[in-house]
């Protein structure tokens, strides 16, 4: 059976949401998604998936606080500690079993409630090998950028081009928190943060919520909705240790993509896929992910960007939404936002950033420092 997206709801993204609790923020996205899908969550939605980590929220068991705002009270709800695309894969699998036919997937960020973001990210480091070294954990990204640029031949200037593209794209996106008309020079001269990462190479944090409604082909027909089809999903992990992982390539993205391409029957991704939304939490990540996903040849992603191939009007638009650099890093909701963007583009609902004639898109996510975990989803207008 086939699974598609029939409802999309986004709330935020803003650098802070002082007037709303995370429940109220998520309710907004959920209400929008259910209206879009034409479903009553209390009757039509058969299962719900939330993507959350305790330490982002500040709770011992965040799962407790998930059901009410998505219509899941006394319903089958589960929480996965993963990114939004892991959540999408979960919903996809639940529907494919035949047990449930409509599933809502939710991910949100209320990261502005976390006063010690650096402390929490540091808390994810290995307690014996890495925590004692102290320092802001983003040094890991600096190390990876260094290794990646040297191995691939991409340059810091190429990375800056990514920032310029994404933050300018974001100015056409109503939900973006960090749209700005920065240029290459602004970025290259911004202060050094975790050399070679500069301040403007790093996404800012934002609050926001994304809810998607998935349905089987039969259910979508009954609800009279034309879905955006999920043709394939994949997810994978590399070694979690800093000491034994791949530094030069995004191995997790490579493996996740392999699985997704297999399911989607995609043999030549660069040709069969029209556009992409990939993780760009740090500017170099967009280039690294494009190459690991096979969407750019090794060492070519930078040149593609500099040539304008990945611009809104380019041959292969990447992060038309503005990505994390332009919209804001909404932690676990980032991946779900990427899926939402691909779906909106395929529907023709992307307003001023609409890409022409796109039929197949790919969304990819990464769980951030210090993880080597990511997921991929391929969507299309046709099954």
């Amino acid at each position: 059976m086939k699974v598609g997206i029939i409802g999309i709801g986004i709330a935020g993204f803003r650098t802070t949401t002082p007037e709303l609790s995370w429940k109220e923020l998520t309710y907004e996205a959920a209400a929008k998604a259910y209206k879009d899908a034409g479903v009553d969550p209390r009757k039509d939605v058969k299962a719900f998936v939330t993507c959350a980590e305790d330490y982002w929220e500040g709770f011992g068991i965040f799962d407790e606080f998930t059901p009410d705002q998505i219509g899941g009270a006394l319903r089958p709800v589960c929480t996965i500690c993963g990114d939004g695309i892991h959540g999408l894969a979960t919903g996809f699998m639940q529907i494919q079993t035949g047990l449930v036919d409509v599933v809502a997937v939710e991910a949100h960020s209320k990261i502005s409630d976390l006063l010690t973001y650096e402390g929490v990210v540091q808390h994810a480091l290995d307690p014996i090998w890495n925590k004692p070294l102290r320092g802001h954990p983003f040094y890991v990204a600096g190390l990876e950028m260094n290794a990646f640029l040297r191995a691939s031949g991409n340059t810091e200037k190429h990375c800056a081009a990514v920032v310029e593209k994404n933050r300018n794209n974001a100015m056409r996106n109503g939900i973006a928190a960090y749209g700005a008309n920065v240029d290459l020079n602004d970025i290259l001269t911004s202060e050094k943060a975790f050399d070679p990462l500069k301040k403007l190479d790093i996404s800012g944090l934002a609050d926001g919520a994304v809810v998607l409604v998935l349905a089987s082909d039969v259910a979508a027909k009954k609800l009279k909705r034309k879905p955006v089809w999920i043709r394939g999903v994949g997810w994978a992990n590399d070694s979690p240790s800093l000491e034994t992982r791949e530094w030069e390539t995004a191995k997790y993205a490579e493996l996740a993509a392999q699985m997704a391409y297999r399911l989607a029957k995609v043999k030549n991704p660069a040709r069969e896929i029209d556009f992409a939304e990939v993780d760009d939490k740090f500017s170099y990540k967009e280039l690294q992910h494009l190459e690991s996903l096979g969407l750019a040849k090794k060492g070519q992603a930078g040149k593609m960007t500099a040539n304008g191939d990945t611009a809104l009007d380019g041959k292969f638009p990447v992060n038309a939404s503005g990505g994390s650099l332009g919209c804001g890093d909404v932690v676990e909701a980032s991946g779900l936002h990427r899926v939402a963007e691909v779906a909106l583009q395929l529907r023709g609902d992307s307003g001023k950033r609409q890409l022409d004639g796109v039929k197949v898109g790919i969304a990819q996510s990464w769980r951030g420092i210090p993880s080597t975990s990511g997921a991929v989803a391929i969507m299309g207008v046709n099954q």
Binding site: I61, D63, P67, A73, C81, G82, A124, N237
Partner: protein, 387 residues
């Protein structure tokens, strides 16, 4: 619907403090499960892990941190976390990985290392409460159980003596469980009633203390079961899960509505319409003695308020008509939250495949049911397994 079976299982000892690190705990349980199924990591298509609060192990995103101990290196890996419901929900996650067709063989690893949390794992439980409505009252986790236990006892006029019978049964059953932390062959109802009052009506011997431990399962599709010539596959006949509203102070705690909802979902899939007759034995979640009774009713194995009567009449003993917690349960074996999978799903597997050793139920059994429970009296994850 694609059929899915458990073909191997493993677990570590459950103890208040174990030397092994989270990664090592995962490895030990996984290795044992793989050996039990006769396969290697390369045969596994997907890895699922369940573990409860990151605060215990002291690592944010701990699922990523110990993923290599689960064999997730280079593989699709997912961590689920539904509070105390994780012990059964991870198995449900394993089920949908395979029933969806995305995997043929899955490894499910649940780990819990509570001892690393200082001064006491209880401190993490301070953070499960609503920060504005509950936390200012400085609540202790035992309060929740005490409030639920009181409501249940009062509505059904149940005496503590009847509830204590569960602790006695399970701690004695646990003598036959090699991993047991709290087995006691001589415990009596009097011992329970004389034990220290923690938060009335809860007394020390009514509860299971924190534990370290890990458990793992190998699940396989029908094709893989044939291919591997598995002698004793135990099939996942039905699964169900349900969460109730966060607003627990607005709910009547005398009956776990969410367990009943999850049970109905599981029974529907398993085509069971008369649980009391069609279920041969049960492993309800028993972190506290009254919870076994509460859950027996939630699992629709008896009428509301009837569970203590069944217990008193010996129906739930290992040689009774409805053996309940033949493993010794959490009360007897220990409560490493997510790793309790070994005592719930694991026990169903070992019993139904005839590998339960001294705990083996002495009469024929074909179908069993188990549930895991958690959050703020909210979560029900139910699985029906059979041969």
């Amino acid at each position: 619907m694609r059929k899915v079976a458990v073909i191997g299982a493993g677990m570590t000892l459950f103890r208040r403090r174990l030397m092994e690190t989270p990664k090592e705990l995962c490895f030990e349980a996984s290795r044992m499960a793989l050996d039990s199924a006769g396969i290697e990591m390369k045969d596994v298509d997907a890895v699922i892990s369940g573990s409860a609060p990151d605060g215990f192990d002291g690592v944010h995103m701990k699922g990523e941190y110990y993923s290599d101990g689960c064999g997730a290196y280079g593989k699709p890996y997912m961590r689920v976390f539904v509070g105390g419901g994780t012990g059964v929900f991870s198995a449900i996650s394993g089920w949908y990985h395979i029933a969806s067709g995305l995997a043929d063989i899955a490894l499910i690893v649940n780990e819990e290392k509570m001892s690393s949390c200082m001064p006491h794992p209880q401190s993490v439980f301070a953070y499960i409460w609503d920060p504005i409505l509950d936390r200012p009252l400085k609540p202790n986790l035992v309060w929740i159980f005490a409030m639920e236990m009181n409501r249940y006892m009062t509505v059904h006029k149940i005496k503590k003596e009847d509830i204590a019978l569960v602790a006695v049964k399970n701690k004695r059953n646990a003598v036959d469980h090699p991993c047991a932390q709290l087995a006691d062959p001589n415990i009596t109802v009097e011992d329970v009633l004389n034990s220290e009052v923690l938060a009335w009506p809860v007394q020390r011997l009514d509860i299971s203390p924190p534990s370290d431990g890990a458990a793992a399962l190998v699940m396989a599709s029908e094709d893989a079961v044939k291919r591997l010539h598995v002698e004793t596959p135990v099939w996942m006949k039905g699964v169900g899960w349900c969460i109730d509203s966060t607003m627990w102070t607005d709910r009547d705690l005398y009956f776990p509505e969410y367990v009943a909802s999850a049970a109905k979902m599981a029974y529907k899939m398993a085509k069971i319409d008369n649980p009391r007759k069609q279920i041969d034995f049960a492993e309800p979640y028993d972190p506290f003695d009254y919870k076994e009774l509460h859950h027996m009713e939630g699992l629709l194995l008896c009428k509301k308020g009837e569970a203590p009567i069944l217990t008193r009449e010996g129906v739930t003993q290992r040689d009774g008509d409805l053996p309940t917690c033949p493993s010794g349960g959490l009360l007897g074996v220990g409560n490493p939250i997510a790793a309790t999978m070994g005592v719930k799903i694991g026990e169903l597997y070992w019993q139904l495949s005839g590998q339960a050793g001294k705990r083996q139920i002495p009469h024929e059994i074909k179908t069993g049911v188990t549930n895991a429970w958690g959050d703020l009296m909210q979560y029900g994850a139910v699985a029906v397994m059979g041969v």
